[in-house]
């Protein structure tokens, strides 16, 4: 339960590129082949370890459909990391990246770490976007790039963890203001969490004092 840091992520990109599947693979380690349209935003969470520190990831998976665009914009500001996803078998989803990036840059805080993800790498035979194109786009816009497959789980862990590493480094460099929660980063309750968990009975008041502030 105790964690050193908490990062908020969002996953963005065109509809049907596999955002929800990436999240499901990361949190539940399973793949759901049926496309179940995301309505608005869905939430998922998982604990990871970086540099020996427990880091809690809270991930908001947004709806890709245009109709939800205005709703999903509300989530940019409070996120520390974003996974921008396209589908390597659909050229148009790659072409829309610029729009997504503009949107993200406009509404998010300037330090947000953006990871570019070309999903569905298992469908090599139907590939429409070359890996080099993705790499070039990422280089041009200063993003981290990775090709993943939510189906085979290839690179899925890495995508989320590398983003977290990037954020962690930025914290170490002092780029992020960790006391401003609007950045999507929280410092964990550290030692007070232990007191809160064990202090179920008589020590209830003590646990309250410890767990109250964070």
């Amino acid at each position: 339960m105790a964690y050193a840091y908490l990062f908020k992520y969002i996953i963005i990109g065109d509809t049907g590129v596999g955002k929800s599947c990436l999240l499901l693979q990361f949190t539940d380690k399973r793949f759901q082949p049926v496309h179940d349209l995301t309505i608005g935003v869905e939430f998922g969470a998982r604990m990871i370890t970086i540099d020996g520190k427990q880091i809690k990831l809270q991930i908001w998976d947004t709806a890709g459909q245009e109709a939800f665009r205005s709703i999903t914009r509300s989530y940019y500001r409070g996120a520390a990391g974003a996974l921008l996803v396209y589908d390597i078998t659909r050229r148009d989803t790659f072409n829309h990246l610029t729009t997504w990036l503009e949107d993200a840059r406009q509404h998010s805080n300037s330090n947000m770490v953006i990871m570019l993800i070309g999903n569905k790498s298992d469908l090599e035979s139907r590939r429409e976007v070359k890996k080099e194109e993705g790499e070039a786009f990422a280089r041009e816009h200063g993003l981290v790039f990775m090709e993943t497959s939510a189906k085979t789980a290839a690179n899925v862990e890495e995508a989320f963890i590398n983003t977290a590493k990037e954020i962690y480094e930025k914290i170490q460099e002092g780029v992020f203001d960790i006391n401003n929660e609007a950045n999507g980063i929280k410092i964990g309750p550290q030692h007070s969490a232990a007191g809160g968990a064990s202090g179920a009975g008589g020590a209830g008041a003590g646990g309250a004092a410890g767990g109250g502030c964070c």
């Binding site: 339960m1 908020k8 608005g40 935003v41 869905e42 939430f43 998922g44 969470a45 809690k56 809270q58 908001w60 205005s70 709703i71 914009r73 509300s74 989530y75 500001r77 409070g78 509404h107 929660e181 309750p189 969490a193 809160g196 968990a197 202090g199 179920a200 009975g201 209830g204 008041a205 646990g207 309250a208 767990g211 109250g212 502030c213 964070c214």
Partner: protein, 875 residues
């Protein structure tokens, strides 16, 4: 008024003597001034004046000044005071409530605030303007903007929610205000957010994303948790809004370790016990309990629910709740809600159920908390809602808890030695046979939950023997239950007006639960015979129910009995035929279904009757002659009609109490009078409704087809008939062909035999002719005496030969006769042959006669004695 007038004077200058301007004119001049003045001070003063007038003359100010005020918001942002006046004015004219000043003004319509809101939000930019003003740090401006948004949301919640949702940073800006150090703004923002988040999942998620739970817990803890003021309640209400029916947010709440943070809220070890709870504390704790219940509501997804329950146990929240349960001085409604909450927190989770089972009440001697709770359930002095809550909690405790069910039944079994300790089983039995109708019902329901989905315990319970009266022989629990039922029914029949109809409802409901999904019990119950009046012949329970149904005047009793009968007769053809045999049963149902009373409850009754009627049809095994499946169907079609019937059937689901009961396993009624439909019945109805309508519809189609065959169209039935007919005929045809073959063969045999006979016949004829010739030759030489002996020898030879032939002929004749008799089929040929044969026979007879003659002659001729016959023959 004087102040107002003097204010106006300073703005407008002194009015012309002898003429007071009307409100409309004044507003017009003020609006003009706001619009056209070049000096900021002038505009500010005019705004102030408009604000002052807006409470009394909001129609005028709103109608003329709306656009101008919007313009001020846009252009005069630099001057906080002017902005503040403009916002307040807008707030006033769109206020959802009526002002004191305008109470005596008949020109102000009731929903004037809403109308102006509608005008204001037509241009979405106006909302953006107000949202932008939230960024203004100035206290007055910020506060006014928040208040204005709150009034707008009160008037048109859905529209404003949608507009704010699409404004980038709209929600985020409001969330920022929650961290405002000025408490007034923070508190007003809370009210705004409560309105904003109501019923809009997307906004709820954004608000949660913006760290709302952190902010709210900070406020709650700084205000002193449950001891805090109304602001704590507001925070909790907002949390409740964010979590209610929003699984994404519940997931987030759970993952964010916020459940652990709730623990201090339920700190029961405070010193306020003696003082009693303040009303505010009651509200606060009530809200907290609501939040807990939202997290573990049975309607949540199973996975989410289970993990929330685990965390509650792990974090000690369940422990804290149980200690509230056992604490003294807790107000009754909080206690009730805590019981419900504890119930839902343990529902279906074995670990938590065990935990609850092991909680001991601080009484002397210590008793399990469950026993203490049950004690209040069977105590008729406890409030109705509390008793319902205990039942619900008990139900949750036993839900999917086989060990718990077993241990409860164990306390009923005779072997459980210690008679002095009060056990839950004893309590329930005591309640079951107490004179209080409600206690009966609660105990019965509690026992029912002990049996739910657990066949082993059902059998166990059958073995429970109770000594109902000291000295009398022990009776089985089932017997006692039946007796009890009989007892209450009897009383109901006798003094139906005097007795509490509730007891019937409860009994019927309890019995219904006992029948749910259990075909054996249904048939068992059929055999229950009740002596309805002492001395009269025993009647079956079903008969009694039906009779009671026909004679009862009370709604609840009728509904209860219809539910019971439906549960009983579904999937149980034996019960159906028993019901059909009860005189007037079907007639009553048909009448009820057809009846045309316009009343909500009557509709329900009609629907239930229709349902029972369709059960009668669907589960009918055609064992009652007058009411077979088809005849009942015809009755339904003719007397009621399919349309009406389905309409009536759907009335059940439309009824309020059905919907209430179907929503939640918990019995949610405010007063005993509201008890109508039971959750278990809703399940039955849901599962059967479509099946029954479908089967009726299919039957109806069949009926159409039958009548169609009369008109000559092919029908399955008659086709089948023809097929069997053809098959029969086919078989007969085969049979006959075989017969024919056999006959033909036999005929052939006979024919060949006949041919043989004919051949030998003709051979005989030839020989006969030869013989005749020889005989004539003999006759022509009578004198040749030396020849006589030779001739004699010859004659003897002939004689022997003739005898031989005679034998042969007679044999053939016999053969012919038999073959003639046997083969009448071949009559034609036989007849012809017979003729020939007859002729032959005649001939032969002649010959025979002649031969005899010859013989005689030869005998007379041969010797005196011997040859005479031959002489005689020669003459």
């Amino acid at each position: 008024m004087d102040f107002l007038k003097s204010g106006l004077k300073t703005v407008l200058g002194a009015p012309e003597p002898g003429q007071t301007p009307s409100a409309g004119e004044t507003v017009e001049r003020l609006v003009e001034r706001v619009e056209h003045s070049t000096l900021l001070e002038d505009r500010r003063d005019a705004c102030r004046a408009l604000k002052a007038m807006s409470r009394k003359y909001r129609v005028e100010v709103g109608a003329q000044g709306m656009n101008t005020l919007k313009q001020v918001l846009e252009l005069d942002r630099a001057d906080n005071e002017t902005i503040n006046y403009a916002l307040d004015t807008l707030s006033n004219i769109m206020s959802p409530s009526q002002f004191e000043e305008e109470e005596d003004n008949p020109n102000v319509p009731m929903n004037i605030g809403e109308q102006f809101t509608e005008m204001f939000i037509k241009d979405h930019n106006n909302i953006q303007l107000v949202l932008d003003l939230l960024d203004e740090y100035d206290f007055r401006v910020r506060l006014s903007a928040v208040q204005l948004l709150t009034s707008l949301l009160t008037n048109r919640p859905k529209d404003i929610q949608e507009i704010i949702l699409v404004k980038p940073m709209g929600v985020s800006k409001m969330m920022d205000l929650l961290s405002d150090t000025r408490e007034v703004i923070r508190n007003e923002t809370l009210l705004l957010l409560i309105k904003l988040t109501k019923g809009n999942a997307n906004i709820q998620k954004i608000v949660a994303f913006e760290n709302a739970f952190d902010r709210l817990f900070e406020i709650v803890s700084s205000e002193g948790y449950s001891e805090g003021g109304i602001i704590v309640e507001d925070c909790l209400l907002l949390m409740l809004n964010l979590l209610k029916n929003n699984s994404s947010n519940i997931h987030f709440f759970k993952e964010g370790s916020y459940i652990q943070k709730m623990l201090p809220m339920f700190d029961a070890t405070d010193d306020g016990e003696e003082l009693g709870w303040s009303p505010q504390k009651v509200s606060n704790v009530h809200c907290m309990l609501q939040i807990v219940r939202t997290l573990v509501s049975p309607s949540n997804s199973a996975q989410l629910l289970a993990s929330c329950q685990k965390i509650m146990k792990y974090a000690g929240l369940l422990d804290a709740l149980c200690s509230i349960l056992m604490a003294s001085g807790v107000p009754a409604d909080i206690l009730t809600e805590t019981i419900n909450t504890v119930g839902e927190a343990v529902r279906g989770d074995v670990t938590n159920q065990d935990f609850l089972g092991n909680v001991m009440a601080p009484s002397n001697p210590p008793r399990p908390a469950i026993v203490v709770l049950l004690m209040s359930m069977v105590n008729e002095k406890q409030p109705f809602s509390l008793r319902c809550a205990v039942l619900y909690c008990f139900q949750c405790y036993l839900y999917r808890n086989e060990a718990g069910q077993a241990s409860l039944v164990q306390t009923l079994l005779p072997s459980s030695g210690d008679a002095t300790a009060l056990t839950s089983g004893q309590l329930l039995c005591g309640g079951l046979f107490s004179s209080d109708a409600l206690s009966n019902w609660f105990s019965a329901a509690a026992l029912m939950h002990a049996l739910a989905d657990n066949p082993t315990q059902k059998e166990q319970l059958l073995r429970v023997l109770l000594a109902s009266n000291i000295g009398s022989s022990p009776q089985s629990l089932l017997q006692l239950c039946t007796q009890l039922l009989q007892h209450s029914t009897k009383m109901q029949v006798k003094v139906s007006q005097l007795l509490d109809a509730l007891s019937n409802w409860f009994s019927a409901a309890a019995l219904m639960h006992a029948l749910a999904d259990n075909p054996t019990q249904k048939e068992q119950l059929l055999r229950v015979l009740l002596a309805s009046n002492i001395g009269s012949s025993p009647q079956s329970l079903l008969q009694l129910c039906t009779q009671l149904l026909q004679h009862s005047t009370k709604m609840q009793v009728k509904v209860a009995l219809l539910m019971l009968l439906s549960q009983w007769m579904s999937h149980c053809p034996a019960a159906v035929s028993a019901f059909l045999k009860v005189p007037g049963g079907v007639g009553y149902l048909v009448n009820q279904t057809c009846s045309n009373d316009h009343d909500d409850n009557e509709y329900l009754l009609q629907g239930l009757s229709a349902f029972l009627l369709s059960i009668c049809i669907h589960f009918n095994d055609d064992s009652v002659e007058n009411y077979s499946k088809d005849s009942l169907k015809q009755l339904l079609l003719k007397r009621i009609g399919m349309e009406t019937f389905t309409a009536k059937l759907s009335e059940v689901t439309k009824h309020e109490s059905y919907n209430k009961a179907a929503k939640h396993p918990q019995l949610r009624v405010k007063s005993p009078a509201e008890i109508m439909i039971d959750y278990e019945f809703c399940r039955l109805f849901k599962s059967l409704e479509s099946v029954i309508t479908q089967s009726l519809a299919v039957k109806q189609e069949n009926g159409v087809a039958d009548s169609g065959s009369d008109r000559g169209s092919p029908a399955g039935d008659s086709l089948l008939q023809y097929k069997t007919l053809i098959r029969q005929q086919d078989a007969r045809l085969h049979e006959l062909t075989a017969q024919l073959d056999a006959l033909l063969q036999r005929n052939q045999q006979l024919q060949s035999a006949l041919n043989d006979a004919t051949a030998s016949n003709s051979h005989l004829k030839d020989e006969n002719t030869l013989l005749k010739a020889q005989v004539s030759a003999v006759n022509s030489l009578p004198n040749q005496s030396q020849q006589v002996p030779r001739e004699d020898v010859k004659v003897k030879e002939h004689e022997a030969r003739i005898q031989e032939l005679t034998a042969e002929v007679s044999r053939l004749g016999q053969e012919l006769v038999t073959s003639r008799e046997a083969h009448k089929m071949a009559a034609d040929e036989l007849e012809k042959l017979r003729k020939d044969q007859d002729d032959l026979l005649e001939l032969l007879a002649d010959q025979d006669a002649k031969l005899n003659e010859y013989k005689m002659r030869l005998m007379s001729l041969g010797q005196a004695v011997e040859e005479a016959p031959s002489d005689q023959n020669l003459t």
